[in-house]
Point group: C2
Chain length 342, copies 2
């Protein structure tokens, strides 16, 4: 049997916790023999919920945590004060080396803050970026950073490019992934101060396949595999993807209900349409990794159901198998300046 | 007869120039008696093209300009060196008060740079923002700024909110338009340094209907009428709108061709679907104004056809009728600080 990947799972976080979270854990261990899930949360609640399922019992363990950090709580204060919350308990397991990874659908801010405060960054990593996969015409691209690190510096963006490339290649399986920096034009001299300063550093950075600027227009068609930007812009991209897609789909559905003729047509195209829209739904891609920490942290959507939770848990196996943390540490220790000097 | 609005039109700019540009001018004067178009470009070419149409001849005049600024030319250098280009000639007409407005589908950078260099900003205006209308579920919102003014300061964003509100209310006809600042969360303490500094200034600014932060996710559903952001973020929003919409529509069309059943359905839904997609196409909204200049400058899409050119020309009438430049001058002279001190 291959080595076990131990995943600490926040059983109390998310809109559908603990029901869907626990179901996701059960599905993951039913599918894979090489995963052990450590469920953090209220023991009596979790025990009862688990008793409804049949699964390989040695692969799920409950770690009691009596508190819950709510979605709307101020993140940093919550992480510091609720020491016995399901999020903090799970992070401590990673910190102590008792778990390899942590998955949560709970309070995003608490997961991001807790990751940096409790688990800590890999030596040499300046900031830990959140890097969701977004759907494109060619499959998916990694959008890095969408986290809470606003007002980034050029050196941060270079590390995002390095970490994103490693994740995309080894966890997602995209060989020699292309890297682009989000810009307002294709030319090197275009952009704001941050992009102009970062561009030559990315060009000089060894070990990544930097292809230059990418305009927002070209992201959905799959122009690059790793989309580098600072977190404010990344957040706008991620949310607007969702917003434009959602509004457009609503309008299309409404338009099909306007006449008897189009209503019949709608019935006929429905199955094909449904498959396409699912393809273009970011939530199909499991969770977003928070990269650069001593252990993997995966944030899944607050509205995650069992399926997304299961996908997110399984993602952790590749992360561990390919020693992503070690690869990141090796990459960031060679700064672009050192590369240039060689 | 009401007062004439004199529109200088760059007949040589855009993918379909001069044919579609001239056709657009003819359509505008056929529709409206209160418009005079001053076509700038090569006289012999324009004369020949115009001779194919019947129109009220006193309403179109040719102003000879022998040079053309190409789409790929460096904008500032082109505006400075090609003094007899169709863009520079048209801007000079506005500068000298011989035209009220300038419309171009040509080199964006040259139009933006030329507007600031040749026409000049209204007294008190710090930067001239480009403000396209973007489609939403409720109609359209004004996205301000999408121009070349990257690395904006808080005072710029306050003026964008003021100018955008005036344009939205008087030219587009939206009473007391709501204003939101693009942010990564709804709370006042969220955001990057620029947004955090700008937020209290917008709250204190009189004469605008500021409603707080708007997340990118909520822009397409029509959460606010005036979407304020700095130009880099604005450019990302505008281009991503186009990119996500385009990719999604392509995928939907392809999905409908996958089976005989869905092909028949596609035929039935086609008319309704076409109307909806047109509704959600930014190019239907005519050109984007470059606000804050001594005279209106309207940039239409490079791929504009006669219809968009005609719409853009007609937009200029409301701009003149409602004395937008005077209103902007009056608004920016009261800075938020003065308001607070009163």
């Amino acid at each position: 049997m291959s080595e076990m990947t131990r995943v600490a799972l926040d059983a109390m976080g998310g809109d559908h916790a603990p029901g869907e979270i626990i179901k996701g854990a059960v599905e993951a261990v039913q599918k894979r023999k090489d995963i052990k899930v450590l469920l953090t949360g209220r023991e009596e609640v979790l025990k009862k919920a688990l008793s409804a399922y049949t699964y390989p019992e040695g692969q799920i363990e409950i770690v009691n945590a009596t508190e819950v950090i709510q979605t709307a709580e101020p993140p940093v204060a919550a992480v510091r004060s609720k020491r016995d919350s399901s999020i903090v308990a799970a992070m401590k397991l990673v910190k102590r080396g008792e778990a390899d990874a942590f998955v949560s659908a709970g309070n995003s801010g608490a997961v991001l803050a807790g990751g940096q405060i409790l688990i800590g960054k890999i030596k040499g990593v300046e900031r830990a970026p959140l890097a969701p996969l977004i759907p494109t015409a060619k499959g998916a691209a990694l959008l890095i950073d969408c986290g809470a690190n606003v007002d980034a510096r050029p050196s941060h963006l270079v590390q995002f490019a390095q970490m994103g490339s490693i994740y995309m290649e080894h966890v997602i399986g995209k060989k020699n992934p292309t890297v682009g920096i989000v810009n307002i034009g294709a030319e090197e001299e275009k952009g704001n101060a941050l992009v102009k300063e970062t561009f030559p550093l990315l060009k000089a950075c060894k070990g990544i396949n930097f292809v230059g600027s990418v305009e927002a227009r070209d992201i959905p068609s799959g122009a690059v595999d790793v989309v580098v930007c600072e977190a404010f812009v990344g957040n706008v991209i991620l949310k607007l993807y969702e917003g434009v897609g959602g509004t457009l789909i609503k309008k299309i559905k409404a338009s099909m209900m306007t006449s008897p003729r189009s209503k019949i047509g709608a019935l006929l195209v429905k199955p094909a349409l449904k498959a396409t829209l699912k393809d273009f739904d970011a939530s199909e891609y499991g969770g977003a990794p928070l990269l650069g920490l001593k252990g993997l942290v995966v944030k899944t959507h607050g509205s995650s159901t069992a399926k997304e939770v299961c996908t997110s848990i399984i993602q952790c196996v590749a992360f561990k198998k390919h020693n992503i943390s070690e690869k990141i540490q090796a990459a960031v220790q060679k700064t672009p300046d050192e590369d240039q000097g060689q």
